[in-house]
Amino acid sequence: MRKLIAPLLTLLLVLGLGAGIYVSVNEQLAKQGTVTVRGLIGSEKEDFFRDPRVIEALAKQGLAVEVEKAGSRQIATQFKLKDYDFAFPSGAPAAEKIKREANVNKAYEVFFTPMAVASWKLIAGILEANGIVSQRDGVYYIIDLTRLLQFVTAEKRWSDLSKNGGYNVKKSLLVGTTDVRQSNSAAMYLSLASYILNNNNIVDSAAQIGPIIQPLESLFLRQGFVENSSAAPFKDYLVMGPGKAPLVMIYEAQYLEEASRANSGVSDAMALLYPEPTIFTKHILVPFNDKGDRLGAALADDPELQKLAIEHGFRNRDAAGFRDFVKSHNLAVPDTLVNVVEPPTFEMLEQMIVMIEQRYKGN
């Protein structure tokens, strides 16, 4: 045995060295012509950019991407944008804010995802018994968003609901969100709630905000401390159980990405609820220079990257590809969503957020 070790080690060493040289030469070759692009992204896209398949597809286009994550609305206000090549926030309003801040007109609509509520079968059952949720074709829909928001704004607790077996807790009935001042997913909830409270109309004048701003504020202020970026509340949902937040406003893509993963954190006890109406979040890349521009074009146009986006739960022009993805992972997801509202204009949404911000400051 011992006699074998020395020659074996030598062989290993030679092989190892050879491989080392082979790989580093390859790397050097690949590095020529590769541009490193640095940008700020919404946290829900981090896994996409860390996916080795995405890194490889980008490398084929001569791009290496370095990302920092931040709340999508935070990007416009708390970063020196000129230090970066691009921003890739969630939501058209956040992208608009960044475009104005950085004084750019160009933008790439890369993919989109509907807002959904991460919850539990236990909770969905209670809401079903209270006429708020209903199942069709194996998908849970929040059919009466008006009633849900009435419960929330009337400061009902879960213990006030009928047939609340298994969740008779004193917690307020609230939809958990991120910080509406920093993050797009909360701003999307605000958009949706303002539509419902404004008698199913998109808020389009300051006069319409006055009567509904108080209940809107309470949706956020009563939650207390919340996180800045969308990945955190979803991670809490995956590990902390329904006791932390029984309803969490998320992007559909976050849930689908996790549910389709090997060794997934999504369990049988969990359920995804689709509000009716819901609202789409567009994921828009704003380039600050040519490098950012190259990345935007690649993400928007390269079929391989578009396909990989679907693998991370996003929707795009390739509707058939999305259907295949859903089917192959056996997910209960509506194929098309018809009942969808538009967010208010950038100015209207900003006005509502600024008013809520004032309340946070105690004014």
Partner: protein, 520 residues
């Protein structure tokens, strides 16, 4: 090249590259400002370094103290506390935290001795509320240990949780919701305080005979049971209104270390590390891929909302210090021997005056003398001077009470040689007499000296005096401050025989006096 060979080459290349990588980064070292409750991570730091090539250099600090250092811009690469919510609120628009990622979970809970939990019907009782707990504390049956909220994250989290639960509202706490009467009842049961949750745990083990509960992280309570450090096991209580869970975010402070930070986060949140961390420290994992081991109770863990309102948190902390906690009687045995003349005396006077509300830093505001507190100063050189006692009724920094303390501090004059033990013995006699009259307060002694004993009672004589105390006269701790030329060993021993603790005041006497406030 054929496929198997390519595969083998690839594996070797990967091994070699990862080897090179480790080598290249072997010297990378990051500074971490950390909560003292993270000391139990030290056995895992070697593993982290092996796997990431990053050495973590930990500097420990308390709750407000740590927040204050971060906000003041103290240079550090990372920060790691049991929760980042308060720091995030305090930083406001300063943007000191460039990124944060949760690394572990542990709720702050009450542990109660098994026999009492059974007798009170608290074992496995899903309907038990914080109100029930407050009632048992108010009646004097529940006697628990809890760390000081201004100094320690476990105490802080417990205070916020209890106040939120007792407010009767199910939302995040706001100023109008604070239920003062219920809180006073609850804190009547707090019979041991400390400035750090680790020290609190050790003190609880020593004093387990007179106490029957302790508030701390679930991980700490589970470790007490696992390591069989108590005569009686603790039952962990998960009240119906809910609890607050510490989530230990690793925070990036120095933007130049982002790459290393990402590498650390990737490892800390990997199944490999999470599994190890759960087994060794008994904290809960932050990734669903690692399943909770059977050691953990798994009731529905209702999470209370954490306030978003700094003013409410401030008010809660002050109300705790000035209204709800047991009032304390603190004895300050102060060396005014000739060697204190000059700068040393000035440091002492400043440190004392800072505690009268002159220190307006985050930590200073909450370490000032409290309403309802009695202070007795006993200056000594080779003789013990007459003691001077003050009672603080009005904790405002310009109040007559605080001004009187400041005037007194200014009047101290250095003279003579050093007779430590006779002065300390005098303090004990006074404290014992006061405790006989009014047993419901916290009694403690601070000893500040800059030299070695060279007059009066000897060290051995004092040790004999302490050893000879009747059992009912035990439990008054002496917190010693190392200063000037005092003997480190002597001061440490002195703290040990009285079950107190040594604090190093050589670098900042002011800081030492502030830190001790969490124990008084």
């Amino acid at each position: 090249m054929n496929t198997p060979l390519r595969f083998i080459l690839f594996i070797f290349a990967a091994l070699m590259l990862s080897g090179c990588d480790g080598q290249k980064n072997a010297n990378e070292s990051l500074t971490v400002l950390a909560g003292s409750e993270l000391k139990d991570m030290e056995p895992l730091l070697g593993d982290i370094e092996n796997k990431t090539g990053i050495k973590l250099q930990m500097t420990y600090s308390g709750t407000l103290d740590g927040a204050e250092k971060l906000i003041a811009g103290e240079p550090t690469d990372l920060a790691w506390f049991s929760h980042g919510k308060y720091i995030t609120l305090v930083q406001g628009d300063r943007n000191r935290i460039l990124a944060q990622e949760k690394t572990m979970l542990s709720p702050v809970l009450l542990g109660v001795k098994e026999s009492e939990a059974k007798a009170w019907g608290w074992s496995d009782n899903p309907n038990l509320t914080w109100r029930d707990i407050a009632a048992k504390a108010d009646s004097g049956e529940l006697r628990y240990a809890m760390a000081d909220p201004a100094s320690s994250n476990s105490g802080f989290t417990a205070l916020v949780g209890v106040a939120t639960a007792l407010s009767g509202s199910s939302d995040a706490l706001s100023i109008k919701d604070i239920d003062q009467a219920q809180l006073s009842g609850f804190f009547k049961g707090q019979q041991l305080s400390a400035g750090s949750s680790g020290w609190l745990t050790d003190a609880f083990v020593k004093e387990q005979a007179r106490l029957n509960g302790i508030i701390n992280y679930e991980s700490v309570l589970m470790a007490l049971n696992r390591d069989k450090r108590l005569d009686e096991q603790l039952v962990l209580i998960y009240p119906k209104e809910g609890i607050i869970t510490a989530d230990y975010p690793l925070m990036l402070i120095n933007g130049e270390k982002r790459e290393a930070y990402n590498k650390l986060v990737a490892y800390l949140t990997s199944p490999e590390f999470q599994q190890k961390m759960m087994e060794q420290t008994l904290r809960r994992p932050v990734i669903p891929q690692v399943k909770l081991s059977a050691d953990f109770a798994s009731p529905l863990l209702v999470e209370l909302a954490f306030p978003n309102d700094l003013a409410a948190i401030d008010k809660l902390l002050f109300a705790y210090e000035d209204k709800h906690r047991r009032s304390s009687h603190a004895y300050f045995v102060l060396d005014v021997s000739g060697s204190m003349a000059g700068g040393r005396m000035q440091s002492l006077q400043t440190a004392l005056k800072n505690l009268t509300g002159q220190d307006q830093t985050l930590s200073g505001r909450f370490s000032r003398f409290r309403s309802r507190e009695t202070l007795t100063f006993i200056p000594f050189d080779n003789q013990v001077y007459p003691a001077k006692t003050f009672t603080i009724n009005d904790p405002g920094s310009q109040s007559a009470d605080m001004q009187a303390v400041r005037q007194y501090a200014d009047s101290l004059q250095p003279l003579g040689s050093t007779g430590i033990y006779q002065a300390l013995q005098a303090a004990y006699r006074m404290a014992l007499e006061a405790r006989h009259k009014d047993p419901d307060r916290f009694y403690s002694i601070v000893l500040m000296t800059d030299g070695e004993n060279n007059a009066g009672l000897s060290e051995d004589g004092f040790a004999q005096f302490i050893a000879a105390l009747a059992p009912r006269d035990r439990g008054i701790k002496t917190f010693t401050i190392l200063f000037g030329d005092a003997s480190q060993e002597g001061m440490k021993q002195l703290a040990e025989i009285t079950e107190g603790r040594l604090f190093d005041g050589r670098e900042s006497l002011n800081q030492a006096f502030k830190t001790i406030r969490g124990y008084q």
